[in-house]
């Protein structure tokens, strides 16, 4: 991996990934639990969903996921007590926050939009553009400990965090139940990370009206317009499904037993500052990690499940509505920004993904595509009490 010297963010996220790895290496070893998939844990998966791949260091258990839920929604997990993971990942919004750019606990505005956590268990890499962050365990450390941007703000204050957890009697019980084989004190950072990751693996969404329709359970679960929209979406004219295919509606996914792991990053033609495809210096995507010119502006295609409730859109929240995403961006084969510092025509970017080639679309077809996208909203996921704030 090569790094450019553009911003400290990529350093900090890469360093954090390494820190997360070493956390595992240090705490490492066998904690007595069976690897990966335990016989005791019963996944409740929608039809057609494969078994999630689970790291050997962190086999699923109901007790661990439940501890993770308390941690996920606990504002004591931010240094100043104002935010929890759930602040930027709200269940009603499919675990996004409704903002264009995430705002950290100290008010620092992030440069990217909070991603939905729906089906994060299947992501072959986490976040918008960091192939180093493969597992949820590795990712958890970033918002917790990162200092650029500050999110939850515990950089260098880990002991303060552990003190707070020790002061909550409930955690003594929950950690003990989640890590029964641990020596004297299971309340540590390694276990905290594993518990939150286990809860996040439970955030599985596959019960939308579209699923009821495709499984044959209810042929009338979605409107005729949505059915036409699905055909357009999965057709070769609009090419949507190449990046947003599979059960997850993202092709950058993996699962238990899969023979090869595909991690996709694509330049979405949102920006073209210089005619060479440059993205604004504040965020150039995968290029910042790899330093390869061909990775300019590449981001991971997110899942489109529940997309109707995750506005605004794109990695920087720069498009407000799905209609604009279709009409002003994908149909014209890239976004044109008339003036200002981001001016440029993404459609002319030599770096843009091959499938962002543009298409002619009738007004009725826009409505049909929107109806299809809206049929991906999984109400049971957005309201499932077992995924909600337990405090």
């Amino acid at each position: 991996m090569t790094r450019t010297n553009k911003s400290s963010f990529r350093w900090s996220s890469a360093a954090l990934a390494l820190a997360a790895l070493s956390l595992f290496a240090c705490a490492g070893g066998d904690d007595g639990e069976s690897p990966g998939q335990t016989a005791e844990y019963i996944w409740e998966l929608p039809p057609g969903f494969p078994l999630p791949a689970v790291p050997e260091e962190n086999p699923m258990s109901a007790a661990k996921a439940e501890l993770g839920r308390f941690l996920f929604y606990d504002k004591r997990l931010s240094l100043n007590g104002t935010q929890s993971c759930g602040s930027c990942h709200q269940q009603a919004l499919a675990f996004t926050d409704g903002l264009a750019l995430a705002v950290g606990s100290t008010g620092v505005v992030n440069r990217r939009s909070s991603m939905s956590l729906a089906n994060a268990a299947y992501n072959s890499a986490q976040t918008w553009a960091n192939p180093v962050l493969k597992t949820l365990e590795m990712q958890v450390a970033v918002p917790l400990l990162g200092d650029d941007p500050v999110e939850l703000g515990f950089s260098g204050q880990e002991l303060e965090l552990l003190d707070r957890l020790h002061d909550e009697p409930r955690y003594i019980e929950l950690f003990a139940a989640a890590f029964p084989d641990d020596p004297a004190d299971p309340v540590n950072l390694y276990n905290l990370v594993r518990a939150i990751a286990s809860f996040e693996r439970r955030l599985i969404s596959g019960n939308s009206p579209y699923d009821a329709y495709t499984s044959g359970r209810d042929p009338d679960a979605i409107s005729e317009s949505a059915k036409r929209g699905a055909q357009l979406f999965f057709g070769e004219r609009f090419e949507c499904h190449h990046c947003h295919g599979s059960f997850a509606l993202s092709t950058s996914v993996t699962w238990e037993g899969k023979s090869s792991v595909q991690i996709s990053y694509q330049n979405d033609a949102l920006y073209n500052l210089d005619g060479e495809g440059a993205y604004p210096g504040r965020d150039q995507g995968l290029f910042e990690i790899t330093g390869r010119p061909e990775d300019m502006g590449k981001f991971r295609p997110p899942t489109l499940r529940n997309v109707a409730v995750t506005a605004p859109y794109m990695h920087d929240g720069s498009i407000a509505t799905l209609r604009e995403v279709i009409e002003d961006h994908y149909a014209r084969g890239g976004r044109r920004i008339e003036d200002g510092e981001d001016a440029g025509d993404g459609a002319l970017s030599p770096r843009k993904a091959v499938f962002v080639s543009g298409f002619a679309i009738e007004p009725q077809e826009v409505d049909d595509l929107l109806a299809f996208l809206e049929s991906l909203t999984d109400e049971s996921f957005l309201t499932d009490p077992s995924l909600s704030d337990p405090w």
């Binding site: 057609g48 969903f49 494969p50 329709y213 495709t214 499984s215 044959g216 059915k227 699905a230 055909q231 979406f233 999965f234 070769e236 004219r237 090419e239 499904h241 190449h242 295919g245 599979s246 059960f247 092709t251 996914v253 699962w255 037993g257 899969k258 023979s259 090869s260 792991v261 595909q262 996709s264 990053y265 694509q266 005619g275 060479e276 590449k298 002319l348 970017s349 030599p350 993904a353 091959v354 499938f355 080639s357 298409f359 002619a360």
Partner: protein, 284 residues
């Protein structure tokens, strides 16, 4: 062909050539299958293909072509004996082959939807014999082509080689690009698979036969057991393709749509219609 005669042939061939039989006493029905390995080499203009590499002089008019993906599914492998009879190769299950289907993978993840792993051989067991040819099919058999990817066993679980449940797998995927005079790059993707598969639900198998199954059958003569390799050259496949042109309103390159003009010449060269002479595969 009557059964006694075929057994006679088999015994003659086995006794004439079988060096691998060990202490098998030559009982013709009890011949122990022997391991065989078919090696593939993919080239561009005679050079071994390398993911991300630019090759000069591809297509017509000749243009530089950078390959970013090169994978294909082959199935129904047979070795052909002197009498022209095919003997099925029983594939040894692995991440790249199972139940008669193998994935040849010449990319290393240099493209946007690739994988690090590569595979250039097909291995399995075949009856001992004196073999002169090899047969195989480009494509995934119909009964395995329309699956739920997430439930399929390797090698049919590869995301980048799959369209949808309704359309099935990309039998052949060759992605690349050539530089444009204006400074950008012109992408050219060749995705060969079934087309015109009836059904209005992309997440379910077709409701009937596809209009164009788009499989191609190969029968290569001159095979030498343990020595031959199967060679394919992308420059031959693309020899009549203008890599700087794509018909408006169609997929960039050829994605097997029924009305995509860019597919016509490529399909001909693949020999998808048995009447057409294939130019892609040969033995060395």
């Amino acid at each position: 062909m009557t059964r006694p005669r075929s057994q006679l042939w088999f015994a003659l061939l086995a006794s004439a050539s079988c060096l691998h039989c060990g202490d098998d006493d030559g009982n013709q029905d009890g011949d122990v299958p022997i391991p065989t390995e078919l090696s593939f080499e993919l080239r561009v203009g005679g050079e071994p293909v390398s993911c991300g590499e630019e090759y000069p002089g591809v297509g017509a008019p000749a243009a530089p072509f950078t390959v970013t993906d090169a994978r294909f599914y082959l199935s129904s492998f047979e070795l052909v004996d002197a009498a022209g009879r095919g003997h099925a190769v029983e594939l040894t299950p692995s991440a790249f082959q199972r139940d008669g289907v193998a994935l040849l993978d010449f990319e290393d993840g240099c493209g946007p939807d690739g994988t690090e792993e590569t595979n250039t051989t097909v291995s399995g067991l075949v009856a001992p014999g004196e073999y002169r040819g090899v047969r195989f099919t480009l494509g995934v058999p119909k009964d395995k082509n329309f699956l739920d990817l997430a439930q399929a066993a390797p090698p049919l679980d590869v995301t980048g080689m799959f369209w949808t449940w309704l359309s099935g797998y990309k039998f052949l995927k060759v992605d690349g690009s050539s530089p444009m005079e204006t400074g950008g790059i012109f992408p050219y993707l060749v995705h060969v698979g079934a087309a015109g598969c009836p059904g209005d639900n992309a997440q379910a198998a077709p409701t009937g036969d596809c209009v164009a199954p788009n499989q191609a059958h190969y029968d290569l003569d001159g095979f030498r057991f343990g020595e031959s390799k199967i060679v394919a050259d992308l420059a031959d496949l693309l020899a009549t393709t203008d890599l700087a042109f794509n018909t408006d309103g169609t997929a960039p390159g050829c994605m097997s749509e029924l009305d995509d003009p860019e597919c016509r010449t490529i399909f001909e060269r693949l020999g998808i219609d048995d009447a057409d002479e294939q130019v892609l595969f040969s033995l060395e």
